[in-house]
């Protein structure tokens, strides 16, 4: 009997993979549901003996089985999109059944944990530090140093918390990892627990990811014995973007409003329920098992450039022809990612802008697509790598509208703790509307009263309004407690700088 492999990742499901699978079963084939290769434009992708067919629909089943389908893409593992990658974190993508412990063990699963547990915590932390791994959630903080702080902190009770809130538009690597290789995340957290002396862990997953939640719950049950005495529980978010910020996330697990906490104290010292806590992103933990195998740390450190070591699972999204997951060593340029690998826009029109790093990331003009993918290089360019999401826009995009959207998103998702963010974002929306001629700043009846000495008597000029927007952004940048208010100015100001014509 022919064995057909089809992904059960949410992207595949959303593109109709279940119908294709059902049709294969009806045609007498046996179907294995595996993780996704990450070539999303080809989903649902069907694999038979290593040969791929996609994007497949139920109507293609007969031709695929007969060997006459025009959806044939050849050997998947040799596809240029796959061959050019350096897959470490996503080494199993497309190859294993997500909830099969046998598949996991057969592909080196638990080797990192076994070795880690044979090492003294101090030695283990030094290996993580030596690998150069930096947090993949956005800030890029060295993972080993964070672990060291928690290990050193006094406390009988410590926690390991995985940040799986992945709220950034244009990102899905956390989701793919949780759905496709959940044991790797669990193993990474168990290694962290050994390193810092934690007994309990939480994975905080956004409620928008029901498939990831279900897979994790099953995987945790299956892995109970391997990770014991360490225990993990999944906590489900409730639709607040700001809960991806680590202190807001901790408040949320504690059952409070997802308000951001002032730092210090760092979560590493006083985190969940006041105890020392490691908070890391899904991809950070998922990199740990392969770093901890013999020689893994050195291999990781050998990838990348300068202080950005290892690989980044880049997510190609938005208006791009070949969207999906592209894990590569740091140093790659946007030109390569968007044009050579991504094949330009899906619409076939010219690329106008790319937003890197989610809703708080700058819009980058094609003229600057030569910046290398590197935390420091992006910072210098007033941009953000963040969680590695790349959203492509074609020339029909209205960047003035996108700037307004950035402010609107900040207003909708602000936790409300500080004024520049809570009120500044609302004023920002109004201001951009006025600049774009969709609102009036003419003084109202009260402002016109003679006793209102300080009120403007005339509508402000466009120059004055633009200056006001820059001042507002300045205030938000420097006066906000966290990056939601503090980084919203980046998409706004970058749009204004490169596409001023869209603000007319």
């Amino acid at each position: 009997m022919t064995t057909v492999r089809i992904s059960d990742d949410a992207v595949a499901l959303a593109c109709g993979a279940d119908d294709v699978a059902t049709a294969f079963v009806a045609a007498g084939a046996s179907v294995e549901r595996v993780s996704s290769w990450g070539m999303h434009w080809l989903e649902p992708l069907v694999e038979i003996d290593g040969i791929g067919f996609g994007p497949a629909s139920a109507a293609d089943v007969e031709a695929i089985l007969a060997g006459s389908s025009d959806k044939r893409i050849g050997p998947i593992a040799e596809h240029p999109f796959i061959v050019r990658q350096q897959r470490l974190t996503f080494a199993r993508a497309g190859k294993t059944r997500p909830l099969s412990l046998d598949d996991y063990v057969a592909t080196g699963g638990w080797a990192g944990l076994t070795r880690a547990r044979s090492l003294a915590p101090q030695v283990l932390i030094e290996e993580v530090t030596g690998s150069g791994l930096r947090g993949r959630g956005g800030a890029g903080f060295p993972a080993g140093i964070k672990w060291q702080t928690v290990a050193n902190a006094a406390g009988a009770r410590k926690y390991v918390v995985c940040n799986a809130d992945e709220g950034d538009s244009g990102t899905f690597a956390d989701r793919m990892l949780m759905e496709g290789d959940p044991f790797q995340l669990i193993e990474g957290m168990a290694i962290a627990a050994h390193a810092v002396g934690a007994g309990r862990g939480y994975i905080y997953v956004r409620s928008e990811y029901p498939h990831a939640i279900a897979k994790l719950n099953t995987a945790i049950k299956l892995a109970t014995v391997q990770i014991a005495p360490f225990e993990i529980e999944v906590r489900v978010g409730a639709g607040a973007y700001v809960c991806g910020e680590e202190t807001s996330l901790l408040n949320s697990i504690e059952g409070k409003r997802g308000e951001v906490r002032a730092k210090p104290p760092l979560p590493a010292i006083e985190g969940l329920f006041g105890c020392p806590t490691v908070v890391n992103n899904v991809l950070t933990f998922a990199a740990i098992p392969h770093i901890l195998i013999e020689g893994g740390a050195a291999l990781y450190d050998s990838h990348g450039v300068a202080r950005s070591k290892g690989t980044m699972p880049v997510q190609l999204a938005g208006n791009i022809r070949h969207g999906g997951l592209y894990e590569t060593a740091f140093g790659i340029t946007l030109n390569e990612l968007v044009h050579d690998i991504g094949g330009g826009t899906a619409s076939g029109r010219p690329v106008k802008a790319v937003q890197v790093g989610g809703p708080l990331g700058a819009y980058i003009h094609p003229g600057r697509f030569d910046i290398p993918f590197d935390y420091e290089a992006y910072t210098v360019a007033d941009a953000l790598i963040g969680h590695g999401g790349i959203v492509v826009f074609d020339d029909s995009a209205d960047m003035g509208h996108m700037a307004r959207f950035a402010m609107q998103f900040c207003a909708a998702e602000s936790c409300g703790k500080c004024t520049p963010c809570r009120i500044g974002s609302v004023r920002g929306v109004e201001l951009i509307d006025r600049i774009r001629g969709q609102g009036s700043a003419a003084p109202d009846a009260v402002s016109r009263l003679p006793q209102m000495h300080n009120a403007a008597k005339q509508a402000p000029t466009r120059e004055a309004e633009l200056q006001l927007l820059e001042d507002l952004c300045e205030t938000m940048k420097f006066g906000s407690l966290c990056a939601l208010g503090g980084f919203t100015p980046y998409p706004v100001l970058s749009a204004l700088k490169h596409w001023p014509e869209d603000f007319a």
Binding site: A10, V11, L13, A14, C15, H40, W41, E43, E166, G167, D168, S169, G170, T171, F172, R175, S207, E208, Y209, P210, H211, R235, V236, G237, A238, G239, A240, Y241, S252, I253, E254, G255, K256, R257, G258, E259, F273, Q315, L316, A317, G318, N319, I320, G323, G324, A346, Q355, P359, G389, V391, V392, F393, D394, A397, M402, F405, F409, A412, E413
Partner: protein
């Protein structure tokens, strides 16, 4: 089972859980379609919190609502990547098809950003939506 018994069963399932409020609220929202003031009061009593504290949490999160809405709900992503793939152009016709019968809720990102425009109805996800597909989805719920 009456309401009190249902609430009691929910509380019972989370006794011994660290930080049980969010899981309880999810369960209450799921069971009753909302977390209304009466439920807030009962939860506050159970967890030894003030009603204000519970209300503060309920009102903070987009997933919880004070009143229930019996209409079928389609969550449509209107974040940046789906905008780049044209979701905004689909909205007017979808809203018209939805009318007052279907709730069309805006959400920001479903993690399907390479194959948008994307939508979710409960656990079912939909991608590569064009106007016809979205209207068909609206009519199907």
């Amino acid at each position: 089972m009456n309401r009190e018994a249902q609430l009691e069963a929910i509380f019972g399932a989370f006794r011994g859980t660290e930080g049980p409020l969010l899981p309880i609220l999810h369960e209450v929202q799921h069971t009753f379609g909302c977390v209304d003031p009466a439920a807030e009061a009962t939860i506050a009593h159970e967890l030894n919190l003030s009603r204000a504290e519970v209300h503060g949490v309920v009102s903070f999160y987009h997933d919880f609502s004070a009143t229930s809405d019996p209409r079928p709900c389609i969550e449509l992503c209107r974040a940046e990547a789906c905008q780049a793939r044209g979701v905004e152009a689909l909205v007017p016709a979808a809203e018209q098809a939805a009318g007052t019968r279907v709730k069309l809720k805006t959400v920001y990102c479903l993690g399907l950003c390479s194959v948008g425009p994307a939508a979710r109805v409960g656990e079912r996800v939909h991608a590569r939506l064009d106007s016809a597909a979205l209207i068909k989805l609206v009519h199907s719920v």
